[in-house]
C-alpha cells in the first residue's frame, strides 16, 4: 500500500443556477492576460449542449484519454509514444481556435467619439486574435440555457448515444448546468502525453501543474486531455491549466471558483488513495466498472492500518485528520452520492459531481403533482429514462443503476426533510427505502444543505514552517523587482516570471489605459483574486473611480 493524498472537489449540480460567477472570477484571477483570452480554466456548460470546446466529449474524433489494448494494457487513445512523437510537427487532433471560439472585444471608442448624428453609432466586434472586424459565431457558452439548441444540441456527443429515444422538442426538454475545471486526475493523460515531461502531479496534494520553464510548447497535452482542460497560450507558446488555486490551497483557502460560488455548491477536501492500485483500477476491462474501481482505490482514513501507512508515507497528522473530516470522502464513499465525470476516459478524475435531481422534480411539479412526495418522485425517476440515461452517459459510462440510486437518495432526502420541516413525524420508511438510516440521511442533509464554510472546505494548510515564503504573504520581495525582460525580442512573456501573488497596480492600469484592442503586448495585466478571502474588496478589483485617479 502506497498512501497518497489528493486534493479533490465535489460539485452539487442541483444547486447550480448557471450564473457563471465561478468562471468570471477564475478568469479574473488566472486568465485575464493576453494570449489567454479564449481560455476558461473554469467554464459552465448547459447540458444537453455541445460543451466547450465544442463536442470535446467525442473521443472518436478528439482521441483524448486512455484506452485498453486488446491485451488489456493501458495506451493513450491518441497512439503510442512513437506515434505521439511522429505527429509532433503538426498535431492532427488539436482543436482549432474555432472549436473554442475566437475571442473578441468591441470597438467602444466609436461610441464615445461619435459626433451627434441621426443613427446610433455601433461598436463593431473586433477579433482579439487578428485585430480585424469579425462575425461572432460561437463562444464558450453559446448554447447557454439551451439557446439555439434546436439547431445544435443534436451534435452533443452524449445525446447522440441515446439519440434514437430523444426528440429534442421544446416541451420535452430537460436541462442542467455542468461547471467544469481540471479534474486533477490520478492517472492524467495530459501528463502522459507531454513529450517534455513538464506536466507533473504534486506528490503532496495531487494537484496537476505545468512547469512553465520546462514546457516547450509541443501542444500534445491539449489533445491528450479528454476533458480539454489544458489550453495553449497563443502568445507565450506554452500550455496552461487550472492550478486548483494552489497558492490559496497551500494556506488553507478554497479555490477562487469555490469561494465565489453563489450557490455554495462546491466542496473541497482530501482523499487518501492507494497509488499502487491506480493502474490496475484504470485498466478495468468494463467501462461501466470504472466508477466502482476508482472508489476501491480510495482508502478509509479511519482505518488504523491506513493511518499508520499514511504516517509512514510521510503524510502529516493534521492532514490525516483533515482526510477524516473530508466532505469529499463523505460524499463519495459514505453517502455515495457523488459520481466521477466520464470515468470511461480512464484518467481517474478527481472532481466529482452529485447529479441533479431537478430535471425530475421539474417534470413532476409541472404535472401539478406533489414534487416532494416520495411515491411521486420515485415513480418519476423510474419513468424519466431520458434524463437519467443522459446523466448516466456523463457520470457512469452509461450504467443507469448508480445514477438511479443517487437520485433516489436525493429524492428520499427531500421527502424525509419535508416531514420534519412541516412539523410532522419523520417517516423512517423513507431512508430505509434507499438503504440508509435516519441518522445517515439527516447527516447527508446537513452536509448538502446547511454545511458551513469550514465543513464544505476542509483544507489543511501546506506545512507552514515555510510560511514566510508562501505566495500569500508576499512580504519578502518588493514588487518593483519583477517585470521587465527582453520581451520584444523573444516574444511574449520571456524573461523571469513575476510571482503570481505580487499585486501590481501597474498591471491593471496598463491594461485599462492601453490603446490596442488585443490588450497590452506584454503580460502585465491582471487583478489578483488569489489573495481574496471573500471579505472586503482587494485593491484593484474594480476600476479606479474618478477621484482616485
Amino acid at each position: 500500500m502506497k498512501v497518497m493524498a489528493q486534493m479533490a472537489m465535489v460539485m452539487n449540480l442541483d444547486k447550480c443556477i448557471g450564473c457563471h460567477t465561478c468562471s468570471v472570477t477564475c478568469k479574473q484571477a488566472w486568465t485575464n492576460r493576453s494570449g489567454t483570452e479564449y481560455i476558461w480554466f473554469n467554464n459552465v456548460e448547459t447540458r444537453p449542449g455541445l460543451g466547450y470546446p465544442r463536442t470535446y466529449e467525442d473521443q472518436e474524433k478528439w482521441k483524448g484519454g486512455w484506452e485498453l489494448t486488446k491485451s488489456g494494457r493501458m495506451k493513450l487513445k491518441a497512439g503510442g509514444r512513437l506515434k505521439n512523437l511522429m505527429t509532433i510537427f503538426s498535431n492532427p487532433i488539436l482543436p482549432s481556435i474555432g472549436e473554442y471560439y475566437e475571442p473578441w472585444t468591441y470597438d467602444y471608442s466609436t461610441l464615445t467619439d461619435a459626433p451627434a448624428q441621426e443613427h446610433t453609432p455601433v461598436a463593431r466586434p473586433k477579433s482579439l486574435i487578428s485585430g480585424k472586424n469579425m462575425k461572432i459565431e460561437w463562444s464558450a457558452n453559446w448554447d447557454d440555457d439551451l439557446g439555439g439548441s434546436t439547431e445544435t444540441a443534436h451534435r452533443d456527443p452524449m445525446l447522440k448515444k441515446i439519440a434514437d429515444k430523444v426528440k429534442f422538442e421544446f416541451e420535452q426538454t430537460f436541462m442542467f448546468y455542468l461547471p467544469r475545471i481540471c479534474e486533477h486526475c490520478l492517472n492524467p493523460s495530459c501528463a502522459a502525453s507531454c513529450p517534455s515531461g513538464a506536466i507533473y502531479k504534486r506528490e503532496e496534494d495531487g494537484i496537476v501543474l505545468v512547469d512553465q520553464d520546462k514546457c516547450r510548447g509541443w501542444r500534445k497535452c491539449v489533445s491528450g486531455c479528454p476533458y480539454k482542460k489544458i489550453y495553449f497560450n497563443h502568445r507565450t507558446g506554452k500550455a496552461e491549466k487550472c492550478t486548483f488555486c494552489f497558492p490559496r490551497i497551500e494556506v488553507g483557502l478554497p479555490t477562487v471558483c469555490a469561494e465565489t460560488c453563489v450557490g455554495r455548491l462546491r466542496y473541497i477536501g482530501l482523499m487518501l488513495y492507494d497509488a499502487d492500485k491506480v493502474l490496475a483500477a484504470a485498466s478495468t476491462t468494463d467501462d461501466q466498472g470504472l466508477y466502482e474501481a476508482q472508489r476501491d482505490v480510495f482508502l478509509d482514513p479511519f482505518d488504523p492500518e491506513v493511518m499508520r501507512a499514511a504516517e509512514y508515507a510521510g503524510i502529516a497528522r493534521d492532514w490525516i485528520d483533515a482526510a477524516q473530516r473530508s466532505p469529499i470522502y463523505a460524499l463519495i464513499n459514505t453517502f455515495k452520492v457523488a459520481l466521477p465525470l466520464h470515468p470511461e476516459y480512464r484518467t481517474m478524475p478527481m472532481v466529482w459531481y452529485i447529479p441533479p435531481l431537478s430535471p425530475v422534480v421539474d417534470v413532476v411539479a409541472e404535472t401539478g403533482e406533489d414534487a416532494e412526495d416520495k411515491g411521486n418522485l420515485f415513480a418519476a425517476i423510474d419513468a424519466l429514462r431520458i434524463p437519467i440515461e443522459y446523466l448516466a452517459e456523463l457520470f457512469t459510462a452509461g450504467e443507469v443503476e448508480p445514477v438511479d440510486a443517487v437520485l433516489k437518495k436525493l429524492a428520499a432526502m427531500r421527502c424525509y426533510m419535508r416531514d420534519i420541516n412541516m412539523g410532522r413525524d419523520p417517516d423512517p420508511s423513507i431512508p430505509a427505502a434507499v438503504g440508509m438510516s435516519e441518522e445517515e440521511l439527516y447527516d447527508m442533509y446537513r452536509l448538502l444543505a446547511i454545511a458551513k464554510y469550514d465543513e464544505r472546505y476542509v483544507i489543511p494548510a501546506a506545512h507552514a514552517e515555510q510560511a514566510h515564503s508562501l505566495e500569500e504573504l508576499s512580504t519578502e520581495c518588493s514588487v518593483s523587482e519583477y517585470g521587465g525582460g527582453q520581451q520584444d525580442l523573444f516574444g511574449e512573456g520571456s524573461g523571469i516570471p513575476t510571482p503570481i501573488a505580487v499585486e501590481n497596480f501597474q498591471m491593471l492600469q496598463d491594461r485599462q489605459t492601453s490603446d490596442s484592442l488585443a490588450g497590452p503586448s506584454h503580460t502585465k495585466g491582471r487583478v489578483n483574486l488569489l489573495n481574496w478571502d471573500g471579505k472586503g474588496s482587494p485593491p484593484g478589483m474594480f476600476p479606479p473611480t474618478g477621484s482616485d485617479s
Binding site: 503538426s90 506528490e203 520553464d213 501542444r219 502568445r235 507565450t236 506554452k238 523573444f490 524573461g495 523571469i496
Partner: protein, 242 residues
C-alpha cells in the same frame, strides 16, 4: 582574408552559438518554446510543417554523415566512391526538396495568414531569411555541383568536410575552404551566420527534441519544491532548517 572568413568568423559564430545557448537557457527558460502557431492556422501547417521537419531531419542527418565521417572510413568499409555519391545525392535531393517545399509553404503561411503574421517577431523574419538562403544554396550545391557538375567536379569530402573536421578539432585549415567552389563557400558562411543567430530565435526548440519521452514513465510526480513554496525563493537567512 581567407583566414578571417574561414577561421576567425566561424569561431566567432561558434562561440556565440555556445555562449548564446547557455545564456538563453539560464536567463530565458520561459521563452524556450516552439511558439507553435497551430491554433491560428492548421490547414497549411499540416502539410508544411511535417514536410519541412522530416526534410530537415534528413538534411541534418546527411550533413552529420557527410561532414563528420571521413572518406577513409567509408573506403575502408568497402563503400565505393560512386555508390556513396549516388546514395548521398538521392537522399540529399529528396530531403532537400521536402525541406524547400515545406519551408516555402511555411513562409507563405507566415506572410499571408493574418494572425500568424502578427505573431511573427523580427527575429523570426531574420531567421527565415538566413534559413532560406542556407537551404537554397545547399540545394544549389547538390544540383549544380554534384549532379550537373557546373564548374567542374568537386568532391566536398576531400575539401569542405576535411576543413570542417579540422575546424572542430581546433586545427583549422583555411586553404581547404578557399579552394572550394563559391557555392560551397557561401553556403558555409551563411550557415555560420545562422548558427550565430540560433540561440536568439525559436530554433532553440531543436535542442529540446523530446527523445526522453520514449523511455520516461508516463506520469511524472514531483514534490512541491522543498526549499520553496510558490514561485520565489526564500530570502537568504530564511532558509528552512532540517
Amino acid at each position: 582574408m581567407n583566414e578571417f572568413l574561414f577561421v576567425i568568423l566561424p569561431y566567432l559564430c561558434l562561440t556565440t552559438f555556445v555562449v548564446g545557448h547557455l545564456w538563453r537557457y539560464r536567463y530565458d527558460k520561459f521563452g524556450w518554446t516552439t511558439r507553435s502557431s497551430q491554433l491560428y492556422e492548421n490547414r497549411l501547417l499540416r502539410i508544411g510543417s511535417p514536410l519541412f521537419h522530416f526534410g530537415m531531419l534528413g538534411v541534418v542527418g546527411g550533413h552529420i554523415i557527410g561532414l563528420l565521417v571521413p572518406q577513409s572510413w567509408t573506403d575502408w568499409a568497402g563503400v565505393s566512391e560512386h555508390a556513396y555519391h549516388v546514395v548521398a545525392v538521392t537522399g540529399g535531393l529528396l530531403a532537400g526538396v521536402m525541406a524547400v517545399v515545406g519551408m516555402a509553404i511555411l513562409m507563405y503561411r507566415r506572410r499571408t495568414v493574418g494572425p500568424v503574421f502578427s505573431a511573427t517577431t523580427r527575429m523570426d523574419k531574420v531567421m527565415y531569411a538566413f534559413l532560406a538562403v542556407v537551404i537554397v544554396l545547399g540545394m544549389w550545391n547538390t544540383i549544380a555541383g554534384s549532379i550537373m557538375t557546373i564548374g567542374g567536379e568537386y568532391n566536398y569530402r576531400e575539401g569542405v568536410s576535411v576543413w570542417y573536421r579540422s575546424f572542430l578539432a581546433f586545427h583549422p585549415d583555411a586553404s581547404l575552404m578557399a579552394d572550394a567552389p563559391l557555392g560551397f563557400q557561401l553556403h558555409a558562411l551563411v550557415a555560420f551566420g545562422l548558427f550565430a543567430l540560433w540561440p536568439f530565435t525559436r530554433l532553440v526548440h531543436v535542442f529540446s527534441a523530446p527523445v526522453g519521452y520514449l523511455t520516461r514513465p508516463y506520469i511524472v510526480y514531483r514534490s512541491r519544491d522543498d526549499a520553496q513554496l510558490g514561485s520565489h525563493r526564500p530570502r537568504r537567512g530564511w532558509d528552512r532548517v532540517g
